[in-house]
Symmetry: C5
Subunit: 264 residues, 5 copies
């Protein structure tokens, strides 16, 4: 964990990361309601919104679409990932070298670690290599830190989520992306476990505008430094409107309902 | 995915890749009806046809036969593969380094990834290395992207094929080779899942001229950028005639029956 | 094992290593009674006490907090570790390269080896690499040497602990951290097994002041060169007081009760 | 596969490779009838016969004995192999780096690949490295290509042997060593599967002079480029006589009985 | 196998290697009767005896004690080894790089290979790396060659021991250390299997002076080039006396009883 407030992925100490690697992680099924979003250009277009401080994609999507948006989008290289056809223990292939990510223009990296998986140790070692390579390139490191695996009956308890956040701090992430643990108190505890490292909330599956924004509001109040969001933005008919509202909630610390109203 | 329209493996945005690695993947049994084709020179001869934009072979065949055809054939190095005596989960050995492929004269690489296999992650990581090495040599990267493995009951559903095409885009292929998913609509969906990446249809096992060409016609209409074909060309008595017809269907977008007629 | 008496982690031939990697190894649960200690700065503050010759932390904590304490704390890089969500055989991921540890400012390394684990051989080979890299940087090497694994019914017998200490000597540690084997005689035997290598006692879970100091006193009398301690210091309300007492017991070889009294 | 007719291991397009790695692969039991042959010098002496175009041995034997025969013997480095105490799936350890083989004086390499073994893919990848390293040193590559493994009920069918020969061609061998598949027709088919690559017959276990030479005669007539032989030469009382005969059958294409008669 | 008669570990073609890695391989239990020998200095002292041509220890012991004896002891680096808490198939961790062994002052290396273990192939490949690195440093290579593993019902038969000796020759050892196979005839056969490579007998567990020396006498008569001995020397009350006797038996080829008498 090093200071990243001067990094392009951060704005006034906070960040909104627009993620779009669902085509790999979940497959085309995530695009059923919004088939036009299968064209990554549409999501890059959304990422030009001022509220978005970085867009996280896999290598091939970055190679193909980032060049047209390099003036308006900050690229975060999602280094690992895998398809959900995979039947093994939770794990991710390293699909991108950090050196090549830098060459493509990435200014930060994202990396998944599944604490509790039978692959935890291997993922932690792959994270080590990516994190240390990112240091060479002065690229902030965001860990998607999720408890998941054979031995965890209830992976997403508040305790496990707080533990996952601490793991991110200990292993050297600059930002940790965790699930919202269900209550502001639990989120505050999780954030505290991360020390001076920034914690962002994971957007999760699509909900209503107010429900989503209220969760974000709670997370921010609990000390989160923003969120990393995918489906709750680009699965919406009007991503701009929700980003307008998110901008108010995250960067201006407005309440969810007030922000929504301001964006009508 | 980077633009490859200026690459020698592409002609007017499309391509016909003649593949002949069946001696490794299937064994001599694929040559029973056409024993003279066990001599790779006969297939290289076929590959000199104007319709063929690249010929894909394994290392040993390239070393032995490409030098005699280097003025008339564009070489695609099929980097991985294995015999069908193999009883393990779907997987392929990396038989060729990209650096040496470039030395032998390859101008593009082909690489198989089996989404859903217990070897998916390992194959994805081997693909990473090959893809990034290919970037160093400015060689387009074609992924043979096939869902296959223990956990996939019906590997070749339209959904899985569309997913496989998306995986190719996300991981950094410039061209994805997928099976024809049974209908023009399904093919169009699969092509859409690949975004700006080119999708080519896999030739599959030998069928009649009309049946084969009609499928190709449908694939092209659905947005495919051509095909990668083996047995449906070199297992035929007259490969030249089917290539004449394919040239019309793929590059001139003629109908299958009209193309066949024109080649009588 | 090389002479390290001139190293900054040693004072008059002895050492007190303050360890704080519990956030990774045990999780936030270790901080339940002392939630303020979730902020690593509080423990670094404690480490500025004269009695502490080195502070051992994981990479991320070092990156984030050591820079503010580099004039007052000697940094020991705990190179490997893992979460206790891990359900596999005792093992640790290598989370930090020695080269990068040196860059961050570490002056010594710590490394866990679980003799008897199904991962023993892999850990020993990872230790080899870390130990030889540490030699390049003139950094002393401390082995957390613990018998643990499937085949060891009673891992922490005196015999196993003595064996673990010998393993540390044979493999090239400069200091071995072992559990107190229950009696002064057993500790003396374990220390003897380590030859000229320094042995430090592991602090273990929190006990009363007198109980803890008496164990340390016995260990010192038995030839130990100090201790590596975490919870028995920073889980206390007043870490300064216990460090004052430890300083007397370890460096002045005073008795536990006398030391306690002197610190009232 | 590259042209190797100018290589020292080839004479007029053919070759007789004398192999002596049985001490590793089978153990001392192969020497029971000829205990004096446990001294590798005796077999090197035999290899000075004009008929022998190369002698294939493991690293240690090459280091110890080749220096005394470097003017009269062409050394082939058998790169991999293992003892028959090994109870795992058919596999071979890589016992020799190609660079060091070149340093010892080898002018060609030999490498075993077991198609159908659970180790097939690993062996193929090790072969890739050895083959590409051999290219750097301009050393011809001979593959011992044997179908063998858990899933092959009858490993040595004519079909499997032909397939194995094709595998050798596809993966980049310059010469393939296969078992004689039982009939001239089957051998001819196997040779055809190898394309322009040279195929040599494996000598196998010791038989009578006439039976052995007749098989060789049939193999040559079927298109084989010679043989790689061990026990059928050095287990004989008079290796010179059988080599005299082999020279006639292989290089002069004489019939077995005529050759035998000429050597009485 | 290369000529090593000029090496410092050889005296008149023979050698006595004093080994002391029992602290790692067996643990403190081997020192129960001779607790003072837990201090490696005592054994290094013994190694200054003229009869000892090399002392074999693990890395940590070499680092700690060799510097004080570098003028009087020739150091052999025992490269691999592991604790007997290990419950897996016979195997050894590589605990020392050859480059670093050279830096510490080693003039030869020792390396264990367990033929017949499920780890045989991995150990053979690790041996390859060590052996070839040793060649770079002109350090003789001694293989501890022991048949051991799941599939070997009676590992230490005369046949297996002879086979193990041959494996050492084939893989490139300069000296092979094997168990005495029970009779002079069996030892002679084993030595013969090793060709021109030197064979030394393994000392084994402690026996009476006469029994031990008689076995050595028989081994020498059978062609052995000496022995590698640990417990039968340093577990004795008077190591000097047994070394005096061994010197006579090994280097002067005296009979065991005569040698014993001479040393009264």
């Amino acid at each position: 964990m090093i200071p990243i407030d001067d990094s392009p992925i951060v704005r006034n100490g906070k960040m909104i990361i627009l993620a779009m690697d669902h085509g790999l992680e979940h497959g085309p099924v995530d695009f059923t309601e919004v088939p036009e979003k299968l064209d990554p250009a549409t999501v890059f277009e959304t990422a030009t919104h001022d509220a978005v401080t970085a867009m996280a994609v896999q290598k091939g999507v970055a190679e193909g679409y980032y060049p047209s948006y390099e003036d308006d989008v900050t690229l975060m290289a999602k280094i690992n990932g895998n398809s959900n056809m995979w039947m093994g223990e939770p794990d991710s292939a390293v699909n991108w070298s950090v050196d090549y990510a830098a060459e493509v223009g990435a200014e930060a990296i994202g990396f998944t670690v599944y604490g509790g998986s039978n692959s935890e140790l291997e993922m932690a070692e792959e994270f080590r290599e990516a994190q240390e390579a990112a240091r060479e390139h002065d690229m902030p490191v965001v860990m998607w830190s999720y408890p998941r695996g054979q031995g965890l009956k209830n992976a997403d308890t508040a305790d496990n989520i707080a533990y996952a956040n601490r793991i991110a701090l200990e292993l050297g992430a600059d930002v940790s992306k965790i699930k919202y643990p269900g209550s502001p108190e639990a989120m505050e505890h999780a954030v505290t476990c991360g020390g001076a490292m920034k914690t962002v909330m994971s957007g999760g599956s699509k909900t209503t505008d107010l429900e989503f924004l209220t969760t974000v509001e709670n997370a921010i109040k609990a000390g989160a430094s923003g969120l990393a969001v995918g489906r709750n933005v680009w699965q919406r008919e009007d991503p701009t409107r929700i980003l307008d509202a998110l901008e108010l909630v995250v960067f201006e610390e407005e309440a969810a309902d007030a922000a929504l109203e301001a964006c009508e």
